[in-house]
Subunit: 295 residues, 2 copies
């Protein structure tokens, strides 16, 4: 028997669409209903067979729903929860795929305070520079992490349903506190995105931009791949997580000030020590070894 | 008939080794002789068939040589040219694969001032995070650029030989002035390397480094791939090109200060405008379209 009879996806793009396709492939979902702010993506999702029907509204969507995945940019979560709240019934489990967790949980407390036992915030770590339902595919989550940040109030059966759903998608589920989640991903995800967007913008605004881009090669391509990411989604993430992201940006600016000092002084040995430490950590990580804190 | 009878490679690693393999595959080289500061890589190159013999020294290497490629880190170029100068004979063409050009040309003037007509500085744009002769392969340069920065004194036949050699490797040859080369690559190559090394080092030095790296995913992987590059090579590049690199770093620090201000002010529209401009430029570039300077 399928884990989920009726699944509701709010925001049927890469993330929500791939969740639906993965559960269907695993035989763990009966019916998939899509809901969203704009009709066009929902119609495309229907045509692609990612969802089985488009809900007429939240009342229709939530009628008999077992699980709801909110997969919209985090800046929309507040409005989405406000709209769904009047129609949510006890026993329907609500989760999300938001890239930040403290702000989503604040919205939960504002709008779904009567249903905290049914809410299990989560975040699958499966970004891609592509977006939209056309990019969705059933294998997106295989081998990726899905982070759960349950509320103190989340009931065990709700947590287990969300855990089992992500495992059915092929993800490895890990638990974190919302604060730890937001600090860790500010460092390893949100900061690199900001830095990559910034570098491309720095070049794009120059009068000699055509010359610069014409000579950019493989290093630039990889370094800036994430600058092809969805601007609205990343605007929302940066704003939602701006306290932790500012801390990370300031730590990095400290590192760059250090590197700038070494460069200005022509301190080759100092630069090589930084590069060597970085290479050792990067290579260990790439080989799947644990990375120890450097001296 | 082969373009080059006797080819001398000084520094038989990824770059020099791939040049030899590519010319051999194209049937454009007779004999390949390796020279270098340490015997072990030369013996490995010999065992791998990348070179035909190890020179006993510069006198031996340069005897009857048609073309010499200096493929060592740029910090070694001064000592290499000093060592080779007494043995260099008129008509032997000297080129290099150095990642910076103004400093290499300064060394040329210091040590090879009697042979300027035979010198054609160059730079193949084919970095890789791997290094060493084991990483060399004949196809490395196919479709890549090779930048020539001939001297005013370089004779036409020498320039044409170097051009033909890179074309035989499959590279697209472009000409630039040394100053333009160093400024452009400070931006599109040297700066991203510095930034990637810096980010990994920033994380590696933290007490919670194991936690951070354990949650790093695909975006981090691509962004930091170039932090796996050769520390000595990149130390030399940074030092050799530090004036242009400092200019680029300062421009980028200005961009980050702007982004920091937008973040601190919670200016989502401002952030989205930057991200959108960057995405448009990045996507145009990735699709091979010309990138215009943004408004």
């Amino acid at each position: 028997m399928a884990l989920i009879g009726k699944l509701v996806i709010c925001g049927v793009g890469l993330i929500g669409g791939s969740f639906a396709l993965a559960l269907r492939r695993a035989g763990q979902v009966g019916r998939v209903v899509g809901v969203g702010r704009r009709p066009e993506p929902l119609q495309r999702a229907l045509a692609l067979g990612v969802i089985d029907e488009v809900a007429a509204g939240w009342a229709d969507a939530l009628d008999g729903a077992d699980l709801v995945l909110l997969a919209a940019p985090v800046g929309q979560m507040d409005a989405i929860m406000a709209a769904m709240a009047p129609h949510l019934r006890p026993g329907t489990v609500v989760t999300d795929a938001g890239s930040t967790k403290r702000d989503v949980i604040e919205a939960v407390h504002r709008h779904l305070s009567g249903a905290l036992a049914d809410v299990v915030p989560a975040h699958p770590i499966a970004g891609a520079e592509k977006s939209g339902v056309e990019a969705a595919f059933a294998e997106l989550y295989i081998g990726r992490k899905a982070v759960l940040t349950p509320l103190p109030e989340s009931r065990a059966a709700a947590v287990e349903l969300v855990r089992a759903a992500w495992e059915a998608c092929g993800a490895r589920v890990v638990d974190m506190s919302p604060g730890e989640h937001d600090r860790v991903f500010a460092a390893v995800s949100h900061l690199p995105h900001l830095l990559a967007f910034g570098l491309v913008d720095d070049f794009a605004r120059r009068p000699n931009a055509p010359l610069l881009f014409s000579h950019a090669a493989g290093g630039f391509r990889d370094f800036t791949r994430i600058a092809g990411s969805h601007p609205e989604m990343w605007r929302d993430i940066c704003i939602a997580n701006r306290v932790a992201l500012l801390d990370e940006l300031d730590a990095y600016l400290g590192e760059l000030a250090h590197l700038r000092g070494l460069l200005e002084a022509g301190d080759g040995a100092g630069l090589e020590a930084v590069f060597e430490r970085a290479r050792r950590a990067r290579n260990a990580w790439a080989e799947g070894l644990p990375v120890q804190a450097a001296e």
